[in-house]
């Protein structure tokens, strides 16, 4: 960081004094400098220990307590079954994502947690991932859509583990006490939002983290213009200056007056807590977001409805359901161990072990045990299985450089100043052109 400075190689100024003692001093300083710098240089070259065939390392971004505990249980189940050791290195969720490039080029763990779709394919294209088609050939219970999300140019790289749908979440009890009805259409949704705002429990909204509002953009886009348009917009083939995109922002603006004020200063955790404290009425969220902010005994009170229909042509066909799972780094030291672990992680048992402790997600494998599902999990599974198309999320469906350096700012700018849609779309399109013209890999 900017504050660090190089210390330790202090060369004293030559002042007048006894000749011999000065020379001794200088010699001492030279030795000191060498002693300080040499080991640092040497240790930078070393590779560290590795290659223990009985130990497989896992790079984890599951820094939140609930998933962390659930993963620990899953890995210890594997240890018990296989007699091998799993060493988990957990990093902060966001830090892990931001450092992924250096992580994969440095000394990555054998297996690491990541996301399906474009966000995985991008790194496969760069040659940073190890192909695991042989592991996939042994898998059962994964749908064709899942396989597609795990594939890059005909080869499989990704083992899906669970997913969670995005929808409009709320407290069941609040809806009952106020007599709110779950809306089906956009007009009903706006009417409900208006009523909530009048009742002093506005629609929860947050975008300090930069990504939560992307969910709303994706949904309005898919309801207005369909899944195919979303796909090609994210792939950079459609123009952001298209009237269809401007229409998304214009439609979004209709609900903005009924949002909680100050969205850009609010984290998703705070928004989730406001839902729990009944200070807000509903929120567009992924399933774990309210789930992890509600105390355990109140989780039964969480309910959701699918994002309302805007254009009947596209109805509620598409569901945004990001898939999380595992990848093998190209630089993995214990490839066999990694593949053995992945083989197990692709089984229904592995998913059951995890979901028993993290009920905020849904299993991807058809063979997973759904009997112990909560009502919310069952409803989520239904929502996704009834979907005609499944999208991932804006920052998973497009290039990471575009999502992080252009779209985060663009959407925050829109929330701060919802009026200037033309200027915003022009700016996004210009930046998109420069970014998508730079090659991958």
């Amino acid at each position: 960081m900017a504050q660090s400075s190089l210390k330790g190689t202090v060369v004293p100024e030559g002042t007048s004094g006894h000749r011999m003692s000065r020379r001794n001093l200088l010699r001492g300083a030279a030795l000191g400098a060498g002693a300080l710098t040499l080991p640092a240089l040497l240790s930078a070259c070393g590779d560290g220990p590795g290659g223990n065939k009985n130990e497989v390392t896992v790079g984890s971004n599951a820094s939140d307590p609930v998933p962390k505990k659930a993963y620990a249980a899953a890995f210890s189940a594997y240890e018990k079954k296989s007699g091998k050791k799993v060493k988990v290195n957990t990093k902060d969720h966001n830090d892990f994502q931001e450092n992924i490039n250096r992580y994969l080029q440095g000394t990555p763990d054998d297996v690491f947690m990541w996301f399906a779709g474009y966000r995985m394919q991008y790194f496969a294209e760069k040659g940073l991932l190890h192909e695991i088609s042989d592991v996939w050939s042994g898998f059962t219970g994964f749908s064709a859509a899942l396989k597609e999300q795990s594939t890059h140019s005909g080869k499989q790289y990704f083992v899906p583990y669970y997913y969670y749908p995005w929808a409009v979440f709320h407290r069941k009890s609040l809806f009952q006490s106020k007599g709110y009805q779950q809306p089906k259409t956009w007009d009903d949704f706006i009417a409900l939002a208006k009523r909530m705002s009048k009742d002093g429990t506005p629609v929860a909204f947050c975008d300090k983290d930069g990504w939560p509002a992307m969910g709303t953009f994706d949904y309005i886009n898919m309801r207005l213009n369909g899944y195919d348009f979303h796909k090609s917009l994210m792939a950079g083939t459609e123009a952001w200056t298209d009237a269809k995109v401007k229409n998304v922002f214009d439609t979004w603006r209709e609900v903005m007056p009924y949002y909680q004020k100050g969205a850009l200063g609010r984290t998703w955790e705070e928004a989730g807590q406001s839902l729990q404290q009944r200070k807000t009425g509903m929120a567009v969220f992924g399933m774990p977001h309210p789930g992890t902010q509600f105390p355990e005994n109140e989780r039964d009170d969480i309910d959701f409805f699918a994002f309302p229909e805007i254009d009947p042509q596209y109805a509620q066909d598409a569901v945004e359901a990001p898939i999380d799972g595992f990848l093998v780094a190209k630089k993995s030291k214990n490839l066999d161990g990694a593949k053995a672990l992945l083989t197990w992680l692709g089984t229904p048992t592995a998913e059951n072990t995890y979901l028993a402790l993290d009920p905020n997600n849904v299993a991807v494998n058809d063979g997973a045990d759904t009997a112990k599902y909560s009502a919310l999990q069952k409803k989520s599974a239904q929502l996704v299985s009834g979907a005609k198309q499944i999208s991932q999320f804006m920052d998973r469906d497009t290039r990471p450089d575009f999502a992080s350096t252009v779209m985060i700012k663009a959407i925050q700018d829109f929330i701060g100043n919802p009026k200037d849609v033309d200027g915003l779309c022009n700016s996004i399109e210009r930046q998109k052109k420069t970014i998508f013209s730079s090659p991958v890999g």
């Binding site: 450092n99 930069g210 200063g265 807590q273 450089d401 992080s404 700012k409 700018d413 090659p439």
Partner: protein
């Protein structure tokens, strides 16, 4: 010869550098020079080189000429706000926080009651890293759970101290000044303590009032401290990073050049060429200050 002693001295001067001396001096000069080249100039030149390329950190490096600069200046909405914020930061620290630190130093130096206590309390924030100051600012200024909004009790329409793009940069500068003021105060206190009291007495005898004494007599004698404080203020303004990064990753009204560099180079994006171009802009601005400072210093040294 009669002039034996001076000749011996002359020979001694000639032989002052034995081979051993040369080796020792060579090594001792060589190590810092090598470190300087490897740690400072190497990366600097590499950044300048990379700023003319497109590179994602993994694959091939593609030469793109001045495209990155064109994009930075014309096609990157965050760039000009970041420049504005850096300038604003410099002006705020230079025109408000630094003079305020001097003001506090003068007050304490004149011997207000409990001056030791004030001195410690005002200096206390300096021991905190700016990132910590950022976390403290969040606790105080958060929208829903912050101290200020809780006291104001404005649930209906909370003031979005850190989310409102027109407001948050000021909050950040105030928080940064909280720390900067203490730093400046301590430096000036040390300077003021070393001002010869006889100067003030002489000024008083000549009939100068307190204001005149300070501005005409005391302040000019603080020149060495002024230079240091000036340098520190410029450095703090240009390297401002951790506080806004801790608050909202330097987005939405808190863009700074340092943040844009980090976002483009280090994040998942890895637009290394593009980020390097921004880094070169920051380098150019820094060089402007460094060169001005060095010229001033060298000229001053020659005059002295």
């Amino acid at each position: 010869m009669a002039l034996n002693i001076p000749r011996r001295a002359g020979r001694r001067r000639l032989r002052r550098f034995t081979r051993r001396d040369t080796v020792v001096l060579g090594v001792l000069l060589g190590i810092p020079v090598l470190l300087d080249i490897v740690i400072v100039w190497g990366p600097t030149l590499a950044s300048i080189g990379l700023s003319f390329t497109s590179w994602d950190g993994v694959g091939d490096i593609h030469w793109v000429g001045g495209d990155n600069y064109k994009n930075v200046f014309e096609n990157y909405p965050a760039f000009w706000p970041a420049v504005r914020h850096n300038v604003l930061w410099l002006l705020f620290l230079g025109l408000i926080a630094t003079p305020f630190g001097l003001f506090l130093a003068v007050l304490i130096d004149r011997g207000v009651r409990f001056s030791r206590f004030y001195q410690s309390v005002i200096y206390l924030p300096v021991v905190l890293s700016l990132a910590i100051v950022g976390f403290i600012a969040q606790l105080i200024l958060g929208t829903d759970q912050g101290v200020v909004n809780t006291i104001l009790n404005n649930h209906e329409n909370p003031i979005d101290w850190l989310g409102d793009a027109h407001l948050n940069i000021w909050m950040m500068m105030i928080a940064a000044s909280w720390r900067h003021t203490g730093y400046v105060m301590i430096l000036y206190l040390a300077g003021l303590k070393s001002v010869d009291p006889q100067l003030k007495e002489a000024a008083a005898i000549d009939g100068a009032n307190a204001r005149q004494t300070f501005f005409r007599v005391v302040f000019p004698t603080l020149r060495p401290v002024n230079v240091i404080v000036g340098v520190i203020t410029v450095i703090e303004a240009l390297r401002a990073f951790d506080i806004v990064y801790a608050v909202n990753k330097g987005r939405n009204g808190l863009e700074l050049l340092s943040v844009l560099i980090t976002d483009n180079i280090i994040g998942e994006a890895s637009r290394i060429g593009f980020g390097s171009a921004i880094a070169v802009v920051l380098l150019t601005v820094s060089l402007g200050f460094i060169v001005t400072f060095l010229v001033q210093e060298l000229r001053g040294a020659r005059e002295r």
